[in-house]
């Protein structure tokens, strides 16, 4: 069976340079970014945003192990995030108690809590995944939905474990310190989050390149055929599910330390839906997609919500727009945009990409004006929408016309452009 001879078989492996550029470089870049952020001395607001982004990155990537890699659509991934987080919360409290009464937990640094989260998430994945991974596609999605509802409901019921409506809280400033971080101030927490974000991203990336990771992709593509190359697709799904649960738990552990509270709500369908949005909007087909999605969505969630009450509407519209016109998500758009530029680095090509981008912007601006006007109209406080020094009052016909015209021209231009052939062709 192994009678191949080295000289006869061509070497198909990619060059070392290619490998470095596509596999090592991005991780180095990530590390660089994480390391350089504190150099800009971000404010508390920014730090809390970065911390939230780090948590969501790991969470969204873990979700994408299911959706993007194994092709499993889950509406209940927050269950593993939450259970991991709860495990970490209990760990946190155990460390606190041990710091008074002693015990083995006294030797466990707060910094390592995400590992407890990982164990919790993976264990939950192993328990829940066992029955649910016997199905795929829509039945799997429905099972995940049912389980999320069940676990969340149980969360409200088993008070000693989940703390009921109020959840359980803890104090991260206990136990032994690692790397000289007391974890008290936000700046310390940033290093903690940055460390685990990097570890999580790197490990999940490595996972895609293992035999199991590759077979997960095969299962996504064609589960039927996988059976006939010696693999049990259910087993492959199950193992990926456990890993995804573990990494979700890791994110949960990070979140436990960051917020020092966990409530049963975080096990429910709502955060599960949000992580789905992140992975999909970012681009489930690409490894980096969910990272983009996490950045964009977390930013929207914490900042856009200050500017506009309708941010969830924008989020929904963005999501729907992605499904309809860009199933590759933001990552896909970026890639095809750069590819288009690279391929036709002509004036015409540039003009095309530019035209696309500007008409998309125009349409977006129009829609935003309309939505914001509507929000203000329905609030009835008589407020005006004042972007860039403009004064658009909802009770003036003119404002609405502006919005309609912008949106109409933008959408019309997009239509014309796409009729002339897809982007970049």
């Amino acid at each position: 069976m192994t009678d191949y001879s080295l000289d006869r078989v061509p070497d198909l492996a990619p060059s070392a340079r290619y490998k470095f550029a596509t596999r090592v470089l991005p991780l180095l870049l990530l590390a660089l970014i994480l390391l350089s952020i504190p150099l800009f001395e971000p404010s508390r607001t920014w730090l809390s945003l970065f911390n939230a982004i780090g948590i969501n990155m790991v969470f969204a990537l873990s979700y994408n192990m299911l959706l993007g890699q194994a092709g499993l659509l889950s509406f209940g991934h927050a269950v593993y995030f939450g259970l991991g987080g709860y495990a970490a919360m209990h760990g946190m409290n155990a460390i606190e108690n041990a710091s008074y009464d002693g015990g083995i937990w006294a030797a466990f640094p707060m910094f390592g809590l995400p590992l407890v989260g990982f164990a919790g998430g993976a264990l939950a994945g192993a328990l829940i995944g066992f029955p649910s991974c016997r199905r795929s596609d829509v039945p799997f999605a429905m099972i995940s939905l049912g389980i999320a509802e069940l676990v969340a409901a149980a969360g409200f019921m088993f008070i000693s474990v989940f703390g009921g409506e109020e959840g359980i809280t803890g104090d991260r400033m206990n136990g032994i310190e690692l790397f000289g971080l007391s974890l008290g101030p936000l700046g310390d927490v940033y290093w903690f989050i940055a460390f685990w974000t990097f570890v999580g991203v790197a490990l999940m990336y490595a996972f895609t390149r293992t035999p199991l990771g590759k077979m997960a992709q095969a299962v996504r593509d064609n589960p039927e055929r996988v059976k006939f190359v010696g693999y049990n697709p259910n087993r492959v799904r199950y193992l990926v599910f456990i890993a995804a649960g573990g990494f979700a738990g890791l994110a949960g552990g990070m979140s436990a330390v960051n917020y020092e509270i966990f409530t049963p709500e975080s096990l429910s369908v709502i955060p599960s839906g949000l992580v789905l949005l992140m992975a999909f909007i970012g681009g489930a087909r690409y490894f980096a997609g969910p990272i983009l999605g996490a950045v964009v969505l977390t930013y929207m969630q914490s900042n856009l919500s200050d500017y506009s009450e309708a941010w969830l509407l924008y989020l929904g519209l963005l999501f729907i727009g992605m499904i309809l016109f860009a199933p590759g998500g933001l990552a896909g758009l970026l890639l095809s945009g750069t590819a288009a530029l690279k391929h036709s680095l002509s004036v015409k090509g540039l003009l095309r990409v530019g035209a696309f981008a500007s008409s998309a912007l125009l349409a977006a601006a129009g829609i935003i004006v309309l939505v914001e006007l509507a929000v203000r109209y329905s609030n009835g406080f008589g407020e005006a929408f004042e972007p860039f020094g403009l004064h658009l009052a909802p009770d003036q016909m003119m404002s609405w016309v502006v919005g309609l015209v912008l949106a109409g021209v933008g959408i019309g231009a997009l239509k014309v452009l796409s009729k002339q052939g897809g982007m970049g062709s």
Partner: protein, 310 residues
Amino acid sequence: METVVFALLNGLIYGLLLFMLSSGLTLIFSMMGVLNFAHASFYMLGAYFAFTLGQHTGFWFALFLAPICVGAAGACVERWGLRKVHARGHVAELLFTFGLAYVIEELVKIIWGKFAVAYEIPPELNFSLFKLFGSQYPAYRIFMLVVSIAMLAGLWYLLKRTRIGLIIQASLTHPNMVAHLGHNVPRIFMLVFAAGCALAGLAGVIGGNYLVTEPSMAFSIGPIVFVVVVVGGMGSLEGAFIASLLIGFLQTFAISIDSSFAEIFSFAGLSADGDVGRITIASLAPMLPFILLVLMLMLRPRGLMGEREF
């Protein structure tokens, strides 16, 4: 006795409401294979439309107009949205409707505000029909019963007596072939989706004032509707009917049982302290449908009456 009768009556009404909600979903699901995540959002739209229309035309006109408006909204959604993702398979469709649910909820908040609106039962129906064990039985519930039975009958006819069902089922797997036989598949899809949404809208008109009309009403009832459709069995109207009633009864019976696990255990000679003992059967009620869902999918994925797995 009393308890049982009440539980039966309440379960029946709740079950019928669930059926009204899920019948449209069953229609869409069985014919188009689309598990419409936004179905409950159309239910919500029905309630809000009826509220607004009712202020101008009165309840009885709204009862007809609102579902038509919802159906039209559904048709638009199909025409300019769902149709585009159809070719990319069920998961893409599911995701689309998932996003749609978000959008509808936010639009409702913008149009009608973030809080409940005062959508009330019409005065003509706001009286108690009879008295049972000292408790009144409102006429509106009988009205709900009548409407849902009518819905069942109408749908039955549509599904079993016309060729539309066949055409759509065929076009699920072989859309091109069906077109080559001369059937305008996209239009039929649009009509079916619109009809399903209109049914949800009707449920909203009727359920909105029976319960509450507020922006989160879709989200809170949505998952249960899936339970009904899945437990009833892929695309089976009878199944959906039975499952609705089953879940209705299950939940109301659970609420009316007044014992906790501690009592049950001690009855069995065991002792249960702490959390498990504290839990009452009644508080398990909201979980029961989902337990049923998960068990059903694992043990009998075709559901109670479904002809095929999905």
